[in-house]
Symmetry: C2
Subunit: 500 residues, 2 copies
């Protein structure tokens, strides 16, 4: 009943400033993106949320294929004995694994109408629900790779994964989430490293060009590395509360999985060697970033390139005659806009008033709203409301398609520029502990600071401030300095922030 | 090691006539479609197989959206107490459910290097890995539906499901499979029935127009109905061994799930009533149908509309100069064909000889192969080989794109015609038990026969012959007759066949 009430209650409007976290939770519900399910930690992604995710998928999938990758599908379950093989990886994920132990239910003799796991169906070996698929995939690649001729293998998988999380938040941290995971196999270290960096660039381009989110590209410290990787590259975005969100990772796995699963190949020269590996992924977590970077106190703001609906028409009328006339014109205009490649919806529902519709589409983040009433039919003008700037203007119906096509680009760019400006304003270069604390705790932003390179210092800073090293930025220049915490020598600045 | 050997071994060529089942298994491996995994009953769908599935998905998704449906995503897990709620459904699937009982692994104190399910992480309530999602979805819809204004809900989900099968076969019957499941909610019985039938039509159109497989539309008998449905509609295809394969089902669920989950709505007239439901699905099983209907002893045959590659170019050359000249021309021609909308691959690998490439693309079912050598450059001709008919001809390079575009339609139609002819030839009207046995056991085909309408007779016929009632065809006419088994009166013929 709690859920039922939550879903239909009128939300108290909470602004970002008042309570960023509550604002986020409310927005996810109000914009009909997702909700909690009856399964602890698992979410239901609602049609509007899923439609945005589908647009992300489609674009990413296109970019993966353009860079030579194919999709495939590997099993949901990983036998425990395989899962254990790459020790660091197993250790890293063991604490959050859902475990299948039985394969049948039967009537519970002690509870009429109830079922129980049938003790006779106990598996001789437990199955882990994949938290990530390196183990099952490398156990498969073993059979696919004999010679350099079989390399590279460039495969991606769109799948669900499960990592049992105690504290969950819709999109940001859920027990089950949707993602893609690329898994590639190469003959040389160099080629694997090129692949790792290439996919980081793909993610960065996707974030900036399609999500309109500027990102910082970098490499993780050892403490923050993917369990089983030699290097983890990442893109980090800044949310409106100044916190960082890791938006995508690309791992150089070295020969770790090849060694764990005994995957060797014969080189052109006839030498046997272990195969080099990468893996890379982004998940429905990106939805959290999209929401947190662009949205405002009125609801969701979606960049046009990812909007399932780019332009919504709302008719204004009183009589049936007016309705027919207005909707007739709207359908005609909508057809024109569709021809120009725009994603258009005419909201013809007669169960809801225009005011309700305005609020709904505003909450759902449709980039442009067009309202048309009987008077407009005579004047040849129409009211155009822009979601991102909340500006309204009356424009001519003539040339509307061209105007809107251009406006989509303008909005996309404007959202990116705004996010970049914000990111730059909240990013500071700090030179001592006082300045560091001021940025992390008072200004709440990103801090470029010298660090002595030890995991120990990193850990202490985290304990003291909750800030972590988000990455060692790729464009960071070498310069002599002293660690803001330990005072020991440092050769370059790293990026600190509190993070999701 | 068994798998490793299997994957690389040279397959003994087995024809359909010699051993249909072995022919199928070999083909799935040889055409690089899928393979068994380390997880009992679960398959790996390989890139070539997945690419065909992706084309199916894309087309079906388009058809679902054209009929007003949206995609969403619901949790992988179903708490046992929810799963139990619709009794028939629970009973129907209980025997094949994977059950999650723990959410953490820990180091096994008795086996160094090994992990074990942590007893402290035992769930208070077991989670069932979804075998189908009615329970979790109707538990969610409960919160979405208050009034007729909230209806209809027209949602589809692309997902993986798990049904623990003891005897598995790649694509046809696997413990985990990929599918789509539509779940709709309606205010009236009539509307729900219209939806059920509409989706059956969508499936039939997809099967016939895209898969080039003629299907028989019908309704299941009570024995064969989906657990929890009032009616199950289906499409049935005929494989080359005369067996039937159920290719898709559309269920009218009545108010069963609404009652189990207490989902009521207020009608326009202010009355409270339970909601009406449908669900419908097709799965990776369709890959099995595609393979079994069209392929031949040389390998896979894919209808052009579902082929990830429609035209493959194989260059013939000896010297580097010849290679450059031939590939140069091929790239130019390939660009032309792509412009015409064809899916083209130039097989420029210099690690493999033309003969190897011919055999590989034949096995993989590419509809048209074009081979070009140095002499062709002078003549302006090119060799065109058609996969389905195994015919070869020399054609002019001029007008090739137009010719190929037309040829794709021709091949698509020809595959359908051939399958339809075969289906008609192997379908018989039988009037007594002798004729029935002759069709089912000797001729190995479909039998239209009178049946007395009882589950008892149906069961006895199944025991005697392994043939089941595939469906009561929608176009079956009412006519008086006597049951071929019991001699009791019957009002219409039903379709019997052995089935996958």
């Amino acid at each position: 009943m709690l859920l039922a009430n939550f879903a239909v209650m009128a939300f108290e409007k909470v602004t970002r400033e008042e309570n960023y976290s509550e604002w986020y939770n409310n927005l996810v519900y109000k914009a009909d993106l997702a909700e909690h399910s009856a399964v602890k930690g698992c979410m239901v992604i609602k049609p509007h949320g899923y439609a945005i995710w589908e647009k992300m998928q489609k674009q990413l999938d296109h970019m993966f294929k353009e860079t030579g990758h194919s999709n495939a599908y590997f099993p949901l379950f990983v036998p425990k004995s395989l899962f254990e093989k790459e020790e660091k990886n197993a250790e890293g994920f063991a604490k959050e694994c859902a475990v299948v132990t039985h394969y049948r239910l039967k009537a519970d003799p002690n509870k009429p109408g109830s079922l129980m796991a049938d003790p006779d169906s106990k598996l001789t070996e437990e199955l882990v629900v994949r938290p990530t698929s390196e183990a099952i995939i490398w156990n498969t690649y073993k059979n696919w790779i004999q010679s350099y001729r079989d390399l590279p293998i460039l495969i991606n998988q769109w799948a669900n994964v499960v990592r049992w999380e105690m504290r969950t938040r819709l999109f940001l941290r859920t027990a089950e989430f949707l993602w893609q995971e690329g898994h590639t196999a190469h003959a040389t270290k160099e080629e694997a490293l090129i692949e790792t960096k290439q996919m980081l660039e793909v993610y960065a381009e996707f974030a900036e060009t399609f999500m309109a989110i500027p990102v910082i590209k970098g490499v993780k410290t050892e403490n923050e590395r993917f369990a089983g990787a030699d290097e983890t590259y990442c893109i980090e975005g800044m949310m409106q509360d100044g916190k960082a969100l890791q938006m995508g990772t690309s791992h150089f796995l070295g020969q770790n999985f090849a060694k764990a699963f005994d995957v060797k190949f014969q080189s052109k020269e006839g030498k046997l060697d272990y195969v080099w590996a990468t893996s890379w992924g982004v998940s429905t977590r990106l939805m959290g970033a999209l929401i947190m970077v662009h949205s405002d106190d009125e609801g969701l703001v979606v960049p046009p390139k990812l909007a399932p609906i780019q332009v919504v028409f709302v008719p204004i009328y009183k009589s049936d005659e007016e309705r027919d006339a207005v909707l007739g014109k709207m359908d005609e205009m909508a057809a024109d806009l569709k021809k120009a490649g725009l994603l258009v919806k005419v909201d013809a529902r007669d169960t809801h008033k225009p005011g309700y519709k305005f609020a709904e589409w505003e909450q759902k983040g449709v980039p442009v709203r067009l309202a048309l009433g009987p008077r407009d039919l005579a004047s040849g003008n129409i009211e155009l409301a822009r979601r991102d700037t909340k500006t309204k203007e009356v424009v001519s119906m003539e040339g509307l398609a061209d105007r809107l096509v251009a406006l989509m680009d303008e909005i996309q760019q404007s959202l990116y520029d705004k996010a970049l400006k914000y990111q730059k304003e909240k990013t500071y270069t700090v030179n001592n502990w006082e300045e560091f604390l001021d940025v992390i705790e008072t200004k709440q932003g990103f801090a470029y600071a010298h660090w002595d390179g030890t995991g120990e210092t990193e850990e202490k800073i985290k304990e003291a401030t909750k800030a972590t090293i988000r990455c060692i930025p790729l464009d960071s220049v070498l310069e002599e300095g002293v660690c803001v915490f330990s005072g020991k020598p440092s050769t370059q600045r790293v990026l600190f922030a509190k993070a999701y």
